[in-house]
Symmetry: C2
Subunit: 361 residues, 2 copies
C-alpha cells in the first residue's frame, strides 16, 4: 500500500490520504516547499524542520547541471547531500527545460539544450532523465514530460501530449529503482478538455504510483486553470495521489483541494517572501508599507511560526528597507508555514466531516 484515502469530504471531492515513502508517511493534501537547487531559498534545514513539511521538492534538471547527479549519488543521495531526513520529490524539470531560450532542438528522442550556467550542451531523453532521478534518489520522481506554456496552438498541444505519453512509457521502462522511488506520470493537454481527457486516458493506463496534472499555471489565468483541474482531477484514479504541479496560492490550494487534488508545490511563498510580501488571513501584507514603520506586532498575531513568535512588523520592515537577507529568510519561513498550516487545517476539517469553509475569509 503506497497510498490510501482515509477520509473523503462530505461536501466536495476533497480527501485525506496517506502516502508512504521510504522516508515516512505523508498526509495529504500536502504543500511541498520548493528547493530547486537543493535548498529552499534562504532557509536552513533547521528553519525547515521547525516548520516541519513532510516533503520538499527539488529540481532534477537543475541538480543535473549543478552539482551533477553522479556527485549526489556519490554523496549517498540527495537526502544525505542536502541534510533532509524526510521525503523529497524531484520534478524532472520539463517545464524549465521547455522554457529555456537555449533549447536547441526537440524531437521524440529527447531535447538538446545549453546549460544556463556555462553554455555547455546536453541531451536529455526520458531514459537520461530516469538515470538522473535514480541517481539523485528522491522518494518520488516525476516522468519526463513536454510541458509548454499557454496559450499554445492545438497542434503544439497535441504534439506535446503525444510526446509526453511516448516518454511516459519509456520512463516507466527505464526506471531502475522501482522498489525505492515512486514514479509519477504527468497529464498534459493544455487548456483543451478533449486533449486533457485523451492525455489522462493514456497516462492513467500506465502503472504509475501517482498522477500529476502538468501544463497548468503556465500563463492561462485562474479561471481556465480551475476549469481544467475540475475537469481533469476526476479522470485520475481515486486510489492514487493526484499532484497539481506549480500551484499555488492559498486560494488555489483551497479551491483545488476541493476538486480532489492531493499534492501541491509552488515557489511563490519563498519568492514573494524575498520580495517582502507575507501571506496573512486577510490577503497579502506588503511589509515595506509605511503603515508598518512603528507596528510592533507580529506579521500575524495568531501565527505560531518562528518569525511571528520572535519578530515585529517594524523590525521586518527595517530589514527590508536596509536590504538585510534575514528579512528574506523570515518572510519565507512565515509564508511556507502559512501554507503548511493551511493544508493541515483543511485536512482536519475533512477528517472531522466538516465543510471546507473559506478559511481565508
Amino acid at each position: 500500500m503506497k497510498f490510501e484515502v482515509i477520509k473523503s469530504c462530505l461536501y466536495t471531492k476533497a480527501r485525506v490520504g496517506k502516502l508512504h515513502t521510504r522516508h515516512g508517511i505523508i498526509e495529504t493534501p500536502v504543500f511541498m516547499p520548493v528547493g530547486t537547487q537543493g535548498t529552499v531559498k534562504t532557509l536552513s534545514i533547521r528553519d525547515l524542520k521547525d516548520i516541519n513539511p513532510p516533503i520538499i521538492l527539488a529540481n532534477a534538471f537543475y541538480l543535473y547541471l549543478k552539482p551533477g547527479h553522479k556527485l549526489i549519488e556519490k554523496a549517498g543521495g540527495v537526502h544525505e547531500f542536502i541534510g533532509w531526513e524526510d521525503s523529497i520529490l524531484t520534478d524532472s524539470g520539463g517545464f524549465q527545460i521547455f522554457s529555456l531560450k537555449k533549447l536547441r532542438k526537440i524531437n521524440d528522442a529527447g531535447a538538446e539544450l545549453q546549460s544556463f550556467y556555462d553554455g555547455s550542451y546536453h541531451f536529455i531523453s526520458p531514459e537520461k532523465m530516469m538515470e538522473i532521478e535514480n541517481s539523485i534518489g528522491a522518494d518520488i520522481i516525476m516522468a519526463f514530460d513536454e510541458c509548454i506554456s499557454l496559450p499554445s496552438s492545438n497542434d503544439k498541444l497535441i504534439s506535446a501530449l503525444k510526446r509526453t505519453t511516448l516518454w511516459a512509457e519509456r520512463c516507466l521502462n527505464s526506471h531502475a529503482r522501482k522498489n525505492e522511488q515512486l514514479l509519477f506520470g504527468i497529464v498534459q493537454g493544455g487548456d483543451n478538455e478533449i486533449l486533457r481527457k485523451q492525455s489522462a486516458g493514456e497516462i492513467t493506463a500506465m502503472p504509475f504510483d501517482g498522477y500529476a496534472i502538468g501544463g497548468l499555471s503556465v500563463g492561462e489565468g485562474k479561471e481556465i486553470m480551475y476549469r481544467m483541474v475540475d475537469f481533469t482531477a476526476p479522470l485520475l484514479p481515486y486510489d492514487k495521489p493526484r499532484y497539481l504541479m506549480g500551484v499555488g496560492t492559498p486560494e488555489d490550494l483551497i479551491e483545488c483541494i476541493k476538486k480532489g487534488i492531493d499534492m501541491f508545490d509552488c515557489v511563490m511563498p519563498t519568492r514573494i517572501g524575498r520580495h517582502g510580501t507575507a501571506f496573512v488571513k486577510t490577503g497579502r501584507l506588503i511589509i515595506k508599507n509605511a503603515c508598518f514603520t512603528e507596528d510592533f506586532s507580529p506579521l500575524d498575531p495568531e501565527c505560531s511560526c518562528y518569525t511571528c513568535q520572535n519578530y515585529s512588523r517594524s523590525y521586518l520592515r527595517h530589514l527590508f528597507m536596509v536590504k538585510e537577507v534575514l528579512g528574506y529568510t523570515l518572510l519565507s519561513i512565515h509564508n511556507i508555514h502559512y501554507l503548511i498550516n493551511l493544508v493541515t487545517q483543511i485536512r482536519e476539517l475533512i477528517k472531522q466531516g466538516k465543510q471546507i469553509n473559506d478559511i481565508i475569509d
Copy 2:
C-alpha cells in the same frame, strides 16, 4: 563592580575578566559579532543563540539613519527590537561617519553629513550621539570620536586626537543613562606613539567604564597595528576593560589578547563567509576551490558548529557555485563560531595557568 580581572596570564599581558552588564556577565577576552544594521548579516537570532556569543555589536549611526533611534526607543530598546536577550554594544559609528564621502563639514561642534540612504542632511554632535545611543539602549555605548584612516599627517592626527578628547568629555557629561549603560572612551593618536600616549593620558583621566583603542585597522598594516596595541594597551587602566575596535582575524585575536586586550569586534568572519572563505586551523579555506567538489567531509571535522555538524564541503561548495544565500549563512555561522571558540580556548588556557600557544598552528 562592573569589571574584574579574575586571572592573569603568567607569560603575557593577557588576562581573563568578567564584565557585568544589565543583560549578563561577559567573560573576557571576548569576540563580539557585528550586526551593523541591527542584524548579524544572514543570521537569525536562532542561529546566533546556537553559537552563543555573550555580546553582539550594532552601529548607532546606521541605526540612527534607519530605522531611527526614536523608533527603537518606542520598540522598547534595541534588545526588544532585534530580539536579542544578551548584551549589546553600540559603536557610535565614528569611523563610518569620517569615512563618508558625503561628510560636508566637521568642526568642534560636530559633523554635518548626508545620509547614504536618501541624501538627507544630519548634524551629529557628541550630545546628539549620546541621545542616539541612550535611545537605542545598548548595554555598552561608545563615545563619539573622530576616527581617521591611516596614513594621515601628524597635523590631522593631532586635530582628531584633540577633538576626540573634547568630545569624550561632552559625551560623559551628556550621557543620560549612567546606571544602565556603560560608556567607553576611545583613544586615538594614529600610528604615532607620542600621540597615542597623549590621547591615552587624556581619555583615561576621565571616568569611563572602559577604554577602547580606536583608529587602528584602518589601513596601517599589521606590523604598525601590533606595535600600537603593544604600546597603548599598558597605558589603559588594568582594572577596566580594554577594547580594540575593528580587529580582527584569528591571528590578531591571539596576538592582541597577549598584549592585554579584552574585547574585539570585526565584520570579517561574516564578510569573508559571504564570499566563500572559512576559517580553519590551517588558515583559510576557499570553498569554491575545485578540490572540494566531491569532498563530503565538514569544513572542519573537529568543529562543533551547526554548519560542520550538518553540511559537507561538497554541498557548501554547491551552494556557492549556484549563489544560494544559505551558503553565506552557513559560512558566517562557522566563522563566528570559530572566533568565539578560539577566545573561549584562550580564556581556558589563561585560567589554567597555561601558555597561550599558537592555537592556529
